[in-house]
């Protein structure tokens, strides 16, 4: 068990810098998910913690010991790789027990631990098989068991579920979380799949272009995205954005065509400040034309089974609206869209950062609903 402290870590390859000064404090036993698009430096960061990449500058400390110059084996980390990286010539038992063998554990103890660990991930009957004879899910379990058996202080996952099919992925996701709850090692899990991030994380770290955009619990990040990037990255379908100018007198944002979108509370910014309104598809409401906040036209309706996804167009800007109703609308039909003022996220167009008034407002609302 160990806390991890990442202090202003940079990573450069020959020409380009891929991680630009990342700092992160991870508490003992926490499950951290690093989420970001491919190439954002999340895997590099993980590999620097593991010791598989050198640290260009900055410090990484595990349990208050700076590990910059330690070999991977000395760091007490176990890692699960994306393509499992099982030793193809060894049996499942040998794969799981290899780390113990290297460490010189006595054979009897090793075999007992291998068997116990294999059983705990449901591989008890497969100990004599080779990785080539296992299914993807089983190989994933072997990779997990290989990491668990070492009783590591830190558990690292490098997109471990992305080679599995959708159903198995959900199942393994639950098992990973259960294993974490059981052994409570500090875990860092890297993924580009926001569902994995939202469901697994104690705290979510959203990365983009080698920097951390935001750190917070999944609900914090969903409800109060700190930047336009995070707002657009988290949530599926993605958040809608409309740009406009702040109009203090009317307590609203004036969109480019003059339409006013009322705000619940005003930020402390000058009149005419350029802002972006962000609103999630599930918070938009469909109305008759003229009855909503803005008027739009239907582009396409997608059936999702439980709900419907309405793709609308407002002044050439695509808008996405999720509704449980069954609106009978043909493409091109005019509709009205209502933007609930308390659901609106306000971002500064220039800095791309969240404008904080909405946060205050939302907090109040949440605490009210909490009382009920």
């Amino acid at each position: 068990m160990a806390s991890i402290s990442i202090r202003n870590v940079h990573k450069s390859y020959a020409r380009e810098q891929v991680v630009h000064g990342v700092s992160l404090e991870i508490e003992n036993g926490e499950f951290i998910v690093i989420l970001g698009p491919s190439g954002c430096g999340k895997s590099t960061l993980l590999r620097m913690v593991a010791g598989l990449e050198s640290i260009t500058s900055g410090q990484i400390a595990i349990a208050d010991t700076v590990v910059n110059d330690l070999e991977p084996r000395e760091r007490g980390c176990a890692m699960v790789f994306q393509n499992y990286a099982l030793y193809p010539h060894m049996t499942v038992a040998d794969n799981i027990g290899y780390a113990l063998k290297v460490a010189g554990t006595a054979k009897a103890e090793r075999l007992a631990r291998v068997e116990a660990t294999a059983k705990s991930v449901g591989l008890g009957d497969f100990l004599d098989r080779r990785p080539g004879q296992l299914s993807g899910g089983q190989r994933q379990r072997v990779a997990m068991a290989r990491a668990i058996i070492r009783e590591p202080r830190v558990f690292l996952f490098d997109e471990p579920l992305s080679n599995l099919d959708a159903k198995l992925r959900v199942q393994m996701r639950h098992e990973i979380r259960k294993i974490h709850n059981r052994i409570a090692a500090t875990s860092i899990f890297v993924t580009h799949d926001q569902h994995e991030g939202m469901t697994l994380a104690d705290r979510l770290v959203v990365m983009n272009k080698g920097t951390i955009e935001q750190v917070g619990t999944p609900t914090q990040i969903y409800n109060h995205p700190a930047t336009i990037y995070v707002a657009g990255f988290i949530g599926s379908p993605a958040m809608n954005f409309l740009s406009g100018q702040l109009s203090l007198a009317k307590r609203a944002v004036a969109l480019e065509n003059g339409t006013l979108v009322p705000l619940a509370q005003l930020p402390a910014l000058p009149e005419g400040h350029l802002v972006q309104i962000g609103i999630r598809p599930e918070h938009l409401r469909l109305t008759a034309r003229g009855q909503g906040t803005i008027d739009a036209a239907v582009d396409m309706i997608e059936e999702l089974g439980a709900s419907r996804l309405c793709n609308l167009v407002f002044e050439d800007i695509p808008l996405c609206l999720l509704t449980d109703d069954r609106p009978d609308l043909a493409p091109g039909a005019p509709v009205g869209v209502y933007l609930p003022a308390d659901r609106i996220h306000l971002f500064d167009s220039a800095s791309q950062r969240r404008i904080e008034t909405t946060l205050v407002r939302l907090d109040k609302r949440e605490s009210q609903s909490g009382r009920v």
Binding site: L52, P72, R73, N83, A85, Y87, P88
Partner: protein
């Protein structure tokens, strides 16, 4: 796209068949000549069907060439060369592929360039080294003046000498370096996924352990393929043994076979005993053929790298 029509099938099989005939017909002639008596083998037109003197001729060839001792010698040398080549190729490729250092590409190219310098091309300098393996060091000491220093300080004349002529070491060592083997291993090592290397690192295995417990077990088929090629290669060595061996108790089969084959200068007025020479050829061919037959499955798998 693979095209399959009956006509094309017949045609391709005809081509293959003619290839087989072209390859095997000389072998067949060897077999026929080896089984004829001296009178029949010299007959014109030559006999096409085998006779009944095969065992007699083979026994005579074995006796005349002293193959008992030569076979043992050749086995020792071939074994030494195969083991040496595999070990050296494996370690070199390991160093080139898995260690990130500035010299890795220069070293790789140095090894690769030796493909263009086979033993036959560098035979004179190689002979000089074999005659005194410490010669390069002697030159180094002389040039730097260290030998003069030692001489004037202690009165000892520095004269390093290590003669490899007429020894198994001399036969084996110059044949051990192998660019082909290193290249084969390198190509195989490059197919090992990075994650496997990293998983081993995370499991705490150091480089030697990784080589011994992961790479070598994974490259068994490669070793088999390399062993096959190299066994045949060293079994058939002719020029080098001819040069370094003057003591016949170190003789190798291919050289001895050369002595069995009648030459105008050596036969003098004697009748050329082609039947004995061909019987000797048959005997010498047997071990490489057996090795290839037994190793064929591994050999092919090792070369196409599908066993993973």
């Amino acid at each position: 796209m693979i095209e399959r029509t009956p006509l094309l099938n017949v045609f391709t099989h005809l081509i293959l068949l003619s290839g087989v005939i072209v390859m095997l017909f000389p072998m067949y002639l060897v077999f026929v000549a080896a089984s004829l008596s001296l009178k029949d083998v010299s007959a014109i037109p030559p006999h096409i069907l085998p006779g009944d003197q095969l065992w007699v001729n083979m026994a005579a060839a074995w006796e005349k060439a002293g193959f008992g001792e030569k076979f043992l010698n050749t086995f020792i040398v071939a074994f030494g060369v195969v083991v040496g080549k595999i070990t050296l190729a494996c370690i070199t490729a390991f160093g080139i592929v898995f260690f990130d250092h500035r010299l890795r590409m220069p070293i790789f190219w140095c090894v690769f360039i030796t493909l263009m310098l086979p033993l036959e091309v560098r035979i004179v300098p190689t002979y000089a080294v074999a005659a005194n393996a410490l010669q390069p060091f002697q030159v180094l000491l002389d040039v730097t003046g260290i030998s003069w220093l030692i001489n004037s300080l202690s009165g000892i004349e520095v004269a390093l000498e290590w003669n490899l002529l007429n020894s198994y070491t001399g036969l084996i060592m110059p044949l051990v370096a192998t660019a082909t083997g290193t290249f084969l291993y390198r190509q195989f090592f490059l197919t090992i996924p990075d994650e496997l290397v990293e998983a081993a690192k995370m499991d705490g295995a150091g480089p030697v352990r990784f080589l011994r417990e992961i790479l070598i077990p994974l490259s068994v088929t490669n070793i088999a393929a390399l062993a096959t090629i190299m066994f045949v290669y060293s079994w058939n060595q002719y020029l080098w043994p001819l040069l370094v061996i003057t003591d016949q108790s170190y003789g190798m089969v291919a050289v001895e076979l050369g002595r069995l084959v009648p030459k105008i200068s050596s036969t003098g007025g004697e009748v050329a005993k082609w039947n004995i020479a061909m019987a000797g050829t048959l005997i010498v061919m047997i071990p490489p053929i057996l090795v290839v037959i037994f190793m064929q499955r591994w050999f092919v798998r090792g070369l196409i790298n599908t066993d993973k």
